[in-house]
Symmetry: C2
């Protein structure tokens, strides 16, 4: 069996989640950098891997996958090691619900609506404060929904073991927590904040903090 | 075990997919109508079921689920009957990829970008033709991606048996095919067109055609 390859920059939250899943399962892998600043994700070479030009893309023994949910599911099913999908139907449903909420409602406001403008706007350049305020509102609703889907009183999102849902959420919360808005938002979500704090020292998390 | 309840209008594509999954598995169920014209999906009663006010929501023995992917996965796992998730890892991955592509790239342009303005614009009212043209372009890319993910030479999207991916796609293609743009677009996708034609007479499809 060949080593799987992850195509994407380590600073992309979805790419980081996929790398973390491979680390959790102790799967040796390669990461091929795709430079978003150089628009490499929209170049023909990457569009052949991901027709929508998004990140990451994945390959294993010639089998190519794009979109994070199927990549994560494939990794969990194809490789031995810790199981990242709960065996219990209710916990498994909550995990997929949380992942669906991240994709549909949380990622865009939290990462692109708050983190990106707060982090990459050059000093002196105008920031669209009304757009950020709208993203805070939408993102707060998403955090509330995610916290509402957590099973309790478990240390991970849906149980006593880490799952794909945790891995999909960690990079998003990491970016959010580094912004002034995010720090304030997370104060209202004590369970999510405690979860994030506890995960920070986990090797797959600590060793994948992106250099920005 | 109580009967599951689907909350949503039968004309919502995602609601129809969930109803079709229950029919395929021969699970007796109830459908509680949520009237989008009366904005019932944004009323407190529905927001308690789905905090983002989307459709459908689902309940079984007091366990509430929102978002179509976890609802469909739950139905397939909780009830006996035909298995709607492929056992083979590669086919299962392709199924989840197709479902991810529908959610992220196909649903919005095909349903809201083409079908809704072409179907519900009152005669004499202006139609934003440039917006429809953009949706045709985005939707064509999504159809090309979905056709590229089909396993071959199988009658269903990812194999010789129907899967959740087929059920998620049928209602979207049904609406698309009824528009002038959709009819033309589908001519370029012979495998998807043949798939759609073959599925039209299947009971779960034929018996859930929405009255518009």
């Amino acid at each position: 069996m060949g080593k799987p390859i992850v195509y994407g920059p380590r600073y992309s939250t979805y790419t980081r989640s996929v790398i973390m899943a491979l680390m959790e399962k102790r799967v040796p892998h390669d990461v091929v950098h795709v430079d978003m600043d150089k628009r490499e994700h929209k170049a023909p070479e990457h569009l052949a891997r991901h027709p929508f030009g998004m990140l990451p893309a994945f390959e294993h023994n010639g089998f190519r996958i794009y979109e994070s949910l199927p990549i994560l599911q494939y990794i969990d099913d194809a490789f031995p090691g810790t199981r990242l999908t709960p065996a219990d139907i209710h916990r498994r449903t909550r995990a997929l619900q949380i992942m669906s909420v991240i994709n549909a409602y949380a990622y865009r406001p939290l990462v692109w609506g708050i983190f990106v403008p707060r982090t990459f706007t050059e000093s002196g350049q105008p920031v669209d404060e009304a757009a950020i305020a709208a993203a805070v509102e939408a993102g707060t609703l998403a955090l509330k929904a995610i916290e509402g889907l957590m099973t309790e009183p478990d240390p991970y999102l849906v149980g006593r073991q880490i799952s794909l849902a945790d891995l999909l959420l960690v990079p998003v919360i990491h970016y959010l927590a580094g912004t002034p808005e995010g720090g304030k938002m997370l104060q209202h979500f004590s369970r999510l904040s405690a979860w994030h704090t506890a995960l920070k020292t986990r090797p797959s998390v600590a060793e994948t903090v992106p250099a920005l």
